[in-house]
Symmetry: D2
Subunit: 132 residues, 4 copies
């Protein structure tokens, strides 16, 4: 959201090709296509992509749930664990809120490779604050 | 590194504008310019940028230390904590290896804003494995 | 496990009163009674208890799955998030393996308070190594 | 602290033998003796001990800095990384506040074995809230 409280564009999300595929109160889903532009030097999907996707999805999900009551959302911590390398195809992400607190939300994000295997997991804490 | 063991390009690092400014056995330093392309919707530097920078720097630092003995480096976990929003200027990063184990290296990365204040921290675990 | 590969006693687990209530290939369950001896100064269940319970349960679950093939398990990282204070009754824990890798297992542990509400979560990485 | 705002006893800290050896505005130091009572089944210092020590020291350090202005401290997350097994002697801990925010403090804790080698690290986030 910008100064006026209206959500702006997710620059990094767009740059890496994040596509939001679903959004309800209980989950946010998305996916990203593995292209050369988001690999690391060994030819694998760069770990920063998982963290960025998780950050975008959890911030968005929290923001959409709290902005009507005059609050905003800001990332506080992002802990991503990489389980299995991915080199091509789409990686899918599913974010679920595990805790909706007054001042923090905690989300789990599971990432699956094109064969549906868990390839990474993130746990993200989003701070909820009065909108500026 | 690609299949031949030669380091390839860091696609995501290039895309976000990561500039490596120094590299010794005891630290890797870098910086990134805060542009519209890497903001999140509220106009702040996107949290995924910190995680991506940390991941690139720590993977590179580990790889350069182990590849001569036939090993390679692969991110295992990345835990980033966001302390202070940044909206413009350059963010600087300094990565230091805290543990150089046989199978894992653990790094700390401190990020500072243009005024030199700590704005984020990452702890990154890189797996060391025999090169393919 | 001791030098002979036979599991020894879990000193800390016993001291805090950890009771293992179930164990299958897909989960380990346990509980701990909240007594004065494991509180922190404000009268809440000490955060270290959650971390200790998670560590004991995930190490045990991994060890029991790998020791027959001559491997052992050793904690590598433990990340616990505290969601809701608990002051009395029993806290229940359920640990599920999310990734069974060749060299690491990753577990999620959910903790619930006496009313069944999620009060803490842990993500634990256990290294799998050849037994000594 | 108890309901009256007066710090109570650190039950778990006492039980594991935590000794606070120093406290200034910029660090808290402590140590714990490795005894049978706090080992895990393989005969190594239990990972939960590191997490508990870190939690006690960082909560104490934050509490002592904020209680005079009517605030209290409560653990929010604790992420501990285990680097090197310890089987006997004393483990020393040094906690330093890396961020003193209005609503959260973030600490780093380094643990060293009897030979002075880094054996574990913790990053701890403590929430600062109005005292009840």
């Amino acid at each position: 959201m910008n100064a006026a409280g209206t959500p702006g564009r997710d620059g990094l999300g767009e740059m890496i090709g994040l596509e939001i595929t679903g959004h309800t109160a209980d989950e946010v889903t998305g996916r990203v296509e593995v292209t050369d532009r988001i690999l690391q030097p060994a030819g694998l999907l760069h770990g920063g992509v998982y963290a960025a996707v998780a950050e975008s999805m959890c911030s968005m999900g929290t923001y959409l749930a709290v902005y009507e009551r005059g609050e905003t959302a800001m990332g506080q911590s992002n802990s991503t664990t990489f389980l299995r390398p991915v080199t091509e195809g789409h990686v899918s992400a599913r974010a679920t809120p595990r805790h909706r607190g007054r001042t923090t939300w905690v989300w789990d994000v599971d990432f699956t490779d094109p064969e549906g295997r868990l390839c990474a997991m993130a746990r993200v804490t989003i701070a909820v604050r009065p909108a500026p």
